[in-house]
């Protein structure tokens, strides 16, 4: 029954809008207004996803299903559950902000810039709502192209190096996922992800499939040691690119774990859980120290992102350690929920921090920490926001950063004291690198003439940061709505991961 549902509208409206902008070309003015209107409209349209969402069920909702390539039983199959819905809302919320962030800043070919972000938005929503493996892969890969152009055209000095590294790294990761998807198709006779969840697989099949998915998702998350593309990409990308990259693109990796790896290969996940935990803790601890040593603000936030995403994967993969120690599944859900909340929260916090750096960069055209000092004296309002986001990044209670980390650490305690202890170092390290950066940039005496001449936030910048601050505080103070929509889906996932497929 070809019915054009809400999810399709959310995917195709921005993509078509972006295409129209590309066709009209650079001659026309007012491209920002068009992009803003379209992205705000998309956000408004996406609100019913939350309002109409039934959090009592783990079944897929807002389902659309029509045949796409019948010869291979590939379907245009969309639907969302509690795991994907928050990420879609995050996407639609952040896109208008990114458009606003590029408002007066982007002078070079602005139409292409805004069009790229709109197309990217549609593709990202597609990734989060696809329930057909091939459709998922199409969106997942297609997204590389606009991001490649965003970093390469509007990026910094070493943008070509960074963007080609980004593309090749991610492409290398995902081609193995394609092989795994094809293999699963041969086993189930369709590309339906829900059928993938149900198909029994032997251990000899699960391990390679798990590794193929792991490669794709680990690059995207990114996990240590395949994270090296991220600092380069972040540093060279324009502000909007960094925001989308940190806030949403990284989440695709985390989302991949809960949508593919855990439910499709639970036994392989269990066998390799220790490896995953080790990699996650490595990211948390080692990358935390690396972040401490950074001189470039964007690089510091990039490394902080890797460390925070380590929490996400830790929360997902401590499940079996909890099960074997306590024998009950209660803590597993907590870990997974923590990971999911951490993803949404990190979307706001890292996005906001990159926006803050962007505000400074637009004024002084440097990201070096050493070039600043005493910003609070000339930009008090900005400093307030910056400090708020920094504290959230450090996991201050009352901000969104606290909720996810707390849940994950709590779950880790049930698994193993040492996991929790190592994970807990982030509270020290995160505070250290973030606040030390704040101390050097924001506080102290005015360091130089550049800082002395800074103007405080414009109305546009204020609006952007205020919106982000709203998100950080709401989730921090009242996480219940977010946790509630996830709970049914998380429970289902817990059942899936604890049920052997052998």
């Amino acid at each position: 029954m070809p019915e054009f549902g809400l999810l399709s509208v959310l995917i195709w409206l921005p993509i078509l809008g972006g295409t129209v902008m590309l066709i009209i070309g650079e001659r026309s003015g007012g491209s920002q207004w068009f992009a803003l209107a379209l992205s705000v409209f998309t956000f408004v349209l996406s609100v019913p996803l939350y309002a109409g969402f039934d959090s009592g069920t783990a079944d897929m909702q807002f389902v659309e299903r029509i045949p796409w390539i019948p010869a291979f039983r590939v379907e245009y199959f969309l639907g969302i559950d509690g795991l994907s819905m928050p990420l879609i809302l995050l996407t639609t919320f952040l896109t208008p902000i990114v458009v606003l962030a590029g408002w007066e800043v982007v002078k070079l070919r602005p139409v292409q810039y805004f069009a790229a972000f709109l197309i990217l938005e549609g593709l990202m929503i597609g990734v989060f709502s696809a329930l057909d493996g091939l459709l998922f892969y199409v969106f997942w890969e297609a997204m590389l192209v606009p991001m490649f152009l965003i970093i390469g055209v509007w990026g910094g000095e070493r943008r070509v190096y960074a963007t080609i590294k980004f593309f090749l790294y991610t492409f290398l990761g995902s081609v193995f996922m394609l092989l795994a998807l094809i293999y699963l198709y041969l086993q189930t006779g369709s590309y339906n992800i829900l059928a993938f969840h149900a198909v029994p697989l032997s251990m000899a099949e699960q391990i390679p499939i798990f590794l193929a998915f792991l490669f794709a998702f680990a690059v995207k998350v990114p996990m240590w040691p395949v994270h090296t593309w991220l600092p380069d990409a972040h540093v060279e990308a324009p502000t909007g690119g960094s925001v989308i990259l940190a806030a949403i693109l990284l989440k695709m990796g985390g989302y991949g774990f809960v949508r593919f790896s855990l439910p499709i290969t639970p036994d392989a996940s269990q066998t390799l859980a220790l490896l995953m935990i080790a990699l996650s803790l490595m990211a948390v601890v080692y990358i935390g120290f690396v972040a401490l040593a950074q001189q470039d603000m964007k690089k510091l936030i990039a490394y902080s992102s890797i460390a925070h995403m380590g929490f996400v994967t830790l929360g997902f993969f401590i499940a079996w350690a909890i099960l074997s120690r306590t024998g009950d599944t209660a803590g597993i859900g907590m870990g997974i929920t923590g990971g999911m909340v951490q993803m949404v929260s990190h979307g706001f916090i890292s996005g906001a921090l990159f926006l803050c750096v962007g505000v400074l960069y637009d004024r002084l055209h440097t990201r070096e920490i050493g070039a600043y000092g005493g910003v609070v004296n000339t930009m008090p309002i900005f400093a307030t926001f910056f400090v708020l986001f920094a504290l959230a990044n450090a996991g201050l209670p009352g901000t969104s950063g606290f909720v996810g980390e707390f849940l994950v650490i709590l779950a880790s305690f049930r698994a193993n004291f040492w996991y929790a202890l190592l994970a807990g170092t982030t509270l020290v390290l995160g505070a250290a690198y973030t606040l030390w950066m704040i101390k050097r940039v924001v506080f102290g005496a005015v360091a130089n003439d550049g800082v002395a001449a800074l103007r405080d936030l414009s109305v546009r910048e204020f609006m952007i940061l205020a919106l982000m601050a709203g998100g950080v505080l709401i989730i921090g103070l009242w996480p219940a709505p977010l946790v509630d929509v996830m709970s049914a889906s998380v429970d289902k996932l817990v059942v899936q991961v604890t049920q052997s497929k052998l």
């Binding site: 070309g25 070509v160 193995f176 394609l178 094809i182 293999y183």
Partner: protein, 476 residues
Amino acid sequence: MLPTEFAPAFPETVLGLGICLVLLVDLYLPARWRDVTYLLALVTLAATAMAVSDIGLSGTTLALGGSFVADPLASFLKLFVLAALATVFVYSRAYLQDSTYNKGEYYLLGLFAALGILVMISGASLLTLYLGLEMQALALYAMVAFNRDSPVAAEAAMKYFVLGAIASGCLLYGISLLYGVTGTVQLAEIAQALRAGGADDAVTLVAVAFVVVGIAFKFGAVPFHMWVPDVYEGAPVSVTLLVGTVPKVGAFALALRVLVEGLGETGVTWEPMLGVLAVLSLGIGNIVAIVQTNLRRMLAYSTIAHVGFILLGFAAGSREGIEAALFYTIVYVIMAAGAFGIVILLGRQGDDADELDDLRGLSQRSPWFALVMLLLMVSMIGVPPLAGFYAKWWVLAALLDAGQLWLAIAGVLFSVVGAFYYLRVVKLMYFDSPAGEAPLRQGAALRLTLSVNGLLVLALGVFPEGLIELCARALG
């Protein structure tokens, strides 16, 4: 209408008559009326296409004593060849118009090559196939040498001719051995004879090896690829465009008819051979393409890599693999035609603009055609939602289905290697500033066809179902 015995060859007859007409008319035309030849050539192609569609997509008819076949596959491939050649002519005309060798012979030889390819497609006996192959090859040798004052072109043509002759010799030797083993040159009878026994004979194996060499040469697969870069770079752009596109369909038909239909019984022998050739082509093609500075040479190595993927489809040894190879061939021809179309668009009188650096800043000089080239390059990488992705995906699916995991892994790994040089083209177009303000070639027909060509790659990517279905049905 022709007698029934000749009916399946009706399209070839029409094309042959058209060629004679073009030949005669062009002879008496003054140079400034060259467009008449061009239009006549297009009309000939259209008339042939109508003759093909008259036969349609149903039923298999043998004709001419069992040496000529008209089946759905033949009709499908012929229609595609004719359409592709028409596109090539449209691009070429824009190029030839302001070159010094705007001769009617270009169209004439192009039509001869098409006739050869059509005969190959319908070849039901080894000799018919060989006849078509040679007709196509001789026309192409002459075309490569078109720019007779250029030493590069002469060298390319010489290389092409000598190596091509050796390859034809190999093929012919293989054919003669097969005749010795089975006592026939008709593919159906060969298949029958081999089923009855003799498929494992040492002589058969040697014959298969020689035939594979001949086919690999026509495809331009490593290690029989030496002619490809030189021909691509040395020939006039319009000829490179032709050599790089339509003959690949002929090569596919040759491989399908001989290996699958005739020597299907010896699959165990030729599948691993093609697997090795495929991996070598993927490797050498993709790696050597990285260091090229000339766009045409880069595309030559990229062709070699794509041929590797097509051969992977054959190496899967299943019907699905053949379908995937067919799909890949079609998609490849569409992409390659577009890419060379862009080369023609960039060029101007006396300067072919075929260095990679000539692409610099194309997105500022012409955002639209930069986007078209972006689509083509990204499709060649194999990124969805573009046609090139489905081609790779289908081949990979066929390989995994046949349990050829390692070939599939080699395929994807070299795709990642290959991504680099396509991305460099995108980088030059989008990230760099234009070196000069040289205008792009004008010509409404060129621009329109090129736009359609680029959008086709996208359209087939979003709605791949139609072509997938056609490929499956043509082989059904």
